[in-house]
Amino acid sequence: MKRIGITIGVGILSMGVAACTKASSSDKKLDQIASDVAALKKQLVGDTPANAKGKAPGAKGMAGRLQRRALNNNTPLGRIERHLARMERMIARGSMRGGARGRRPPRPDAKTVYSVPLNNSASVGPKHALVTMVEGFDFA
């Protein structure tokens, strides 16, 4: 059942990747990930009972080993699994670039007035003025 689950999961994911790839065919990163998914799918699907028929007896054992290794996050397969999970989230957001933007912290709104206390920060100019500019700076 686990193997079937993985196969279905990879199938759904690869459909999502294919759809995403259509939307932005020039995106090299997506292409690379899509090819990774295809390679993984080939590796896993190739070992389902249906496909294993007539194959060497070692095929079934390999799928089990892959599943066990997938549970361990330090293995290459574990890293691929994590990568796939990230891909799924990006696809759910709409696109690779859209997803990346979504993680950025929000910026202050240009029309809003923000309350920035002056306290005893360094200043130049008159003690009180019609306009007070606060500059956030660093020496780098």
């Binding site: 912290p105 929000p106 910026r107 202050p108 709104d109 240009a110 029309k111 809003t112 007035v113 923000y114 309350s115 920035v116 206390p117 002056l118 306290n119 005893n120 920060s121 360094a122 200043s123 130049v124 100019g125 008159p126 003690k127 009180h128 003025a129 019609l130 306009v131 007070t132 500019m133 606060v134 500059e135 956030g136 700076f137 660093d138 020496f139 780098a140």
Partner: protein
């Protein structure tokens, strides 16, 4: 340094209508912490802007010895300078960083002009547009009887948004 020259132009253009307040937002702590502390300590002796100019004029990897040299050149009381650098200024820099982060600062330079955000190193006309806008509002408040000494507190600190 380029933004520093824009700020000079603003001061020249608007004169006493504009006050510039400097708050540390240390993005590169390994490089910027020592000069930030030195500039803060210089400010405690009324020499912030001189130190600020000196540090930016020798832009690079700053050392404590270099900062101490600038402090001597500016004629600072070295005992007080070192005590402030190691005491009150450390706390002040952390405080300033928190104040800016709370209202959405994520990088430098970041400006809040009467509380209105303007990010990045912009040319003078960008500042001019926003300054003229807030200046008009401040002048309207002043004409209604609000003293200039209370303008920032009333219009920005009290009415402004406290967090992003």
């Amino acid at each position: 340094m380029r933004v520093s020259s824009t700020l000079d132009k603003i001061r020249e253009h608007y004169g006493n209508k504009v006050k510039i307040v400097y708050k540390n937002y240390v993005v590169h702590p390994t490089r910027a912490t020592i000069p930030a502390l030195a500039a803060c300590a210089a400010d405690k002796q009324g020499k912030f802007h001189d130190m600020y100019k000196k540090v930016f004029a020798h832009f690079g990897r700053y050392t404590q010895a270099q900062m101490d040299g600038y402090a001597k050149e500016l004629g600072l009381n070295m005992g007080k300078y070192k005590a402030d650098m190691n005491g009150v200024c450390k706390k002040q820099i952390r405080q300033e960083q928190m104040e800016l982060a709370r209202v959405g600062t994520r990088g430098t330079p970041a400006f809040y002009i009467n509380g209105r955000f303007l990010g990045g190193n912009r040319p003078f006309p960008h500042f001019q547009r926003l300054i003229d806008e807030v200046l008009k509002q401040a002048e309207a408040a002043k004409s209604k009887g609000m003293p200039v000494s209370k303008l920032y507190d009333e219009l920005v600190v009290k009415k402004g948004k406290k967090t992003l």
